[in-house]
Subunit: 340 residues, 3 copies
């Protein structure tokens, strides 16, 4: 098993859930999810304990779920409340129920020991809800790749020049070394590219034409939520690290949902301190991100395929791998601590 | 291996076989079948003993089969009668031949020890050929599911209310307990739903509108032939078990052919004591059955998928499982007795 | 492993390679191939040693290849010459380079120990370049079959009557025994069919209508290049073996490229001593060959499928199997000698 279990994973945007039974798979666990009569999202194990039919193939009856094969019915706590044609309900007649919390229009599910679930641990960003910032939910990118490959790519500024040469990167940054800070709970990798032509994204969106100072900060929250803080400002402004809000600044958030060892969903959204309330700008940015993320997807899927083949030699490590290497070690140690 | 071998399995309706070489797979054994010059159906192992090419890719030459690769030719007993370019025919040059019998327009093949094949053991029903009954061959339903799952569903009246709520069942029967008799060679599960609205099938077909007495009898002949005897009659008639012929009575027959562990063909047909000779009624009934059996198929395929996954806990057993449980034990014991 | 490594395999016709990075798989090894600035074909291991991305997903930079993920760059010898953002290049930063040689408009790659590669060992035929002969490259047939099955079929004249009854063979040859000579390095199987109607190919192409003497010689060069020398002449000419050039004579060449255990590419071409310079004749012959080779493909794929199944009994051997049997033993002994 290569998953951290005691963690809040994103099951979907709030708009993805209604009273309809919706099947969701997170870290290889099948869930059936739905809103109850007061709108709260419920998550149950998607497997009838009798003949294993996914409950998502049955129907919602009030706030309960009725199996589509023989009508066994389970409440939101997972307890069986009805077995048609039989009065006694054995104690083994239950399905697991998962803690769910909705925040910032995102639905989070706790996949581990329910006793350890605390909503204080759910990802947040102070800019959510701030009038100086515009938040916009983008899309869900489905990748046939291991989530560690996808997450690693999100703490790796060095790939930008080569994978996204026309959108998020350009040749100016090819040889600028990456800074990495792995001391805190959140891993950070970053670099500033000073006095260089603006990349495609900021030409189109920020309206820059002359040289800019550009920054990329990659924050990786374990197990697999990434915040990419990037932006540009006129060279003349001479911004330093703390002054990023004075430039055009974007937070691109990536919520990774590992489905299985070769399938990850990356729900991405963005927050910005410019073009507030401008839906056309949101659409335009979505299009640019979509192009860039499809470039990542092609690479990450090819790597996943390559990893399945027999390897003639061990892969080599480069200086730019510090962030990814620390990330993988941390995940490994979290998984081991859960097993112990 | 999870198949009974010493049994007559259905290879197809009579109309499915002609002088053309037809490949058929039963319990993972590949057969080539064809009618010889006097119309008798032949079944041979579909594998040339030389380079393994399926003989069904060759051609029929008289009553023999010629391999499509190098022309080795086999007679209806499976013996090699020609090797082009070579005079002597080694004793290893043969393919297995299988006993075949055609009855009631159905072609049966014996898949086990030929010395144990007796045509007296082939499934029959006294209503075949009776002038008071109309027999009609329906269709072949292909399911990606284990035959034990499919067969079990055919000795399980309890699923009808939930899987077929608009066709074969309705809410009236949800809590009516199932009777089971497992004493004889044929397993029987049944229930009567008295004084209840007619189900969709009998509204459309029987023309009932007021309340009816409705019965469902599920007879399961090992290894995998099912007879579902169901019908309805006016409540006023007050029918008892032995008087079912006085109502509108249907026999739905299901001949299961296990292809492999995840693929079963269910050839179904029906006999009825009403609308004799009315082909429009047959077509109408086919359509209703097709709808209902597609509902089963969706469930049974989902269960097969679910069974492939790792199971966190053992499935639980309910009171309604008595018929299925006895059925699975009998199959297991037949298989073990064949191995011993 | 079932491949000979110390051998020249065909990577493609010359026209298949340009300055574009082209992925090629030979005996399960992934290569990236391209022409450098002076037109020489380069073959490198298609796997960046860092994150395993196939280099064929990157881009050519001058005569070098740059990885599409982080820009590591490799020269035509496979040595890393650049790691963006890092000055020192570790000795482990390399990919394997493969010897390549182009001859007769065919690109050959040596897949084994580079120290043992000698271009003297590359397949040739004296008729290439002779003004009395016309050479024409046909096509690449992709078969889902093991290369030993495909190669064996090319040293097996006996299948022609049954697999190609309307093109390359006919009933006249069904019982003519096959001669085999396995003494030399090249295996040969052949037979003459004297004074018989011409086969479809020579009716259409050679213009024969009366009886002909027809020959089929199958030469198999290890590991998997086949030359089929076949032709026809008027019976009146009374040709003997050495006089084949006096009839209408065709060489059909088959260069097999094993991709993996179940996938082989057969690049085929032909040389002829008639209709020199007549492109319409080439096209006509291509069409005839395509029909015939599709007949082989259907058989060879069915055999590959059949071999994957559990076998109830060992396959039997016939007199016609002498060539194929010796061929398989030779391959086996080559593989063993490479491992030893």
């Amino acid at each position: 098993m290569s998953y951290v279990r005691n963690a809040w994973y994103v099951a979907g945007w709030s708009a993805e859930f209604s009273q309809a039974l919706t099947p969701v798979v997170i870290i290889e666990q099948a869930l059936v999810m739905y809103r109850n009569s007061v709108g709260k999202v419920i998550a149950l194990e998607d497997r009838c304990p009798h003949r294993l039919l996914p409950l998502s193939r049955g129907k919602r009856v009030g706030d309960d779920v009725q199996c589509g094969y023989h009508g066994m019915t389970f409440n939101a706590a997972g307890q069986c409340v009805r077995i048609p044609g039989q009065d006694n309900i054995p104690s083994t007649a239950y399905v697991s129920a998962y803690p769910v919390h909705e925040k910032n229009n995102i639905v989070f599910v706790w996949m581990g020991d329910p006793g350890k679930a605390s909503i204080d641990d759910i990802f947040d960003l102070p800019q959510f809800g701030s009038p100086a910032w515009h938040a916009h939910q983008g899309d869900a990118l489905h990748l046939q790749s291991h989530y560690l490959n996808v997450a690693e790519n999100l703490v790796d500024p060095a790939h930008v020049s080569f994978v996204h040469p026309t959108t998020l990167g350009n040749a100016a940054s090819e040889d600028v070394p990456v800074q990495v800070d792995t001391d805190g709970e959140v891993l950070v990798a970053w670099r500033w590219i000073r006095n260089a032509p603006p990349v495609g994204f900021f030409q189109k969106f920020g309206g820059f034409s002359g040289n800019v100072d550009r920054w990329h900060y990659y924050y990786l929250h374990l197990p697999c939520t990434a915040v990419i803080d990037f932006g540009s400002a006129d060279v003349a402004a001479g911004l330093v690290e703390d002054q990023r809000d004075e430039g055009v600044r974007i937070f691109a958030l990536h919520f990774l949902t590992p489905v299985n060892e070769h399938y990850t969903i990356d729900r991405w959204m963005h927050l910005r301190n410019a073009a507030l309330g401008d839906e056309q700008a949101s659409t335009q940015m979505d299009a640019l991100f979509r192009t860039a993320f499809d470039e990542d997807k092609a690479i990450l899927q090819a790597i996943d395929e390559a990893e399945k083949r027999p390897q003639p030699r061990r892969p080599i490590r480069l200086a730019i791998d510090k962030g990814p290497a620390v990330y993988r070690r941390r995940i490994q140690s979290l998984i081991e601590s859960e097993i112990a």
